[in-house]
């Protein structure tokens, strides 16, 4: 095993392990921190795949933005130590059975199929291509997405406004 293989195995263990902690832990704070580690692990996997832009953006957006927002929201709206942040679970046995069936079938498909593989391309930076395509070929879709985000922003502001002064 070369050193990159060892690093890859460790990244995989961290990713899947923290995903398991996310799903199995009963405390919401633990789940949020586990989600953070999962995102770091997934970003490392993107680095292994040579997708630099995709590796940077989830860390920036999720870990830097949404997850911090989530943690602050949870910590500010509840008192941390007394409350009922316990996640309720239900349908545990069928859920475990279904997810095991999903994993077995996906793993069988992944390992039994004979994929048409090529040698991996050399890693080139992708950000320049992505930016150019956003501003040329995919400009309309880019603008539509930005308008959709603007609508979501206005809608969120409308939703959290007090009803009395509406």
């Amino acid at each position: 095993m070369s050193i990159s293989d060892i690093i890859f195995v460790m990244v995989g263990i961290v990713t899947v392990g923290s995903a398991a902690v996310l799903v199995l832990s009963l405390s919401l704070i633990d789940s949020a921190f586990a989600l953070l580690f999962t995102f770091f692990g997934v970003a490392m996997i993107y680095v292994f795949l040579g997708a630099d832009f995709l590796a940077a953006t989830p860390v920036l957006i999720y870990v830097g933005g949404i997850l911090v927002l989530l943690l602050f929201g949870v910590m500010l709206t509840h008192r941390l130590y007394n409350l009922n942040l316990k996640a309720e679970t239900f349908q545990i046995i069928p859920g475990i059975l279904i997810s095991l069936a999903v994993f077995v079938s996906l793993a069988l498909v992944a390992t039994q199929t004979r994929w048409h593989l090529v040698a991996e391309k050399p890693v080139v930076p992708t950000t320049e291509t992505i930016g150019t395509l956003f501003m040329t070929d995919y400009l309309l879709r880019f603008e539509i997405a930005s308008i959709l985000l603007l609508i979501a922003l206005i809608g969120a502001a409308m939703l959290v406004r007090r009803r009395s002064d509406a």
């Binding site: 890859f8 292994f48 795949l49 996640a87 679970t89 859920g95 996906l106 793993a107």
Partner: protein, 63 residues
């Protein structure tokens, strides 16, 4: 040597854990975290295939 199969197995594990989270939790926050895991698994698959598959590289080249 890291091959496509390793990425696919990791993404399968993430996907099934996400399914478990979506199915067994009651609070919307936990369900959303499970959905996030599913999204990540799908994205890992897409990037892995775009890097190693013939068809996708042809499609990108013709783009």
């Amino acid at each position: 040597m890291i091959t496509l199969y390793h990425y696919l197995l990791i993404s399968a594990a993430l996907f099934s854990l996400g399914v478990l989270g979506v199915l067994t939790r009651k609070k919307a926050v936990n369900v959303l975290m499970g959905i996030k895991l599913i999204f990540n698994a799908a994205n890992i698959n897409l990037v892995a295939f775009s890097r190693t598959s013939v068809l996708l590289q042809k499609a990108v080249a013709e783009e």
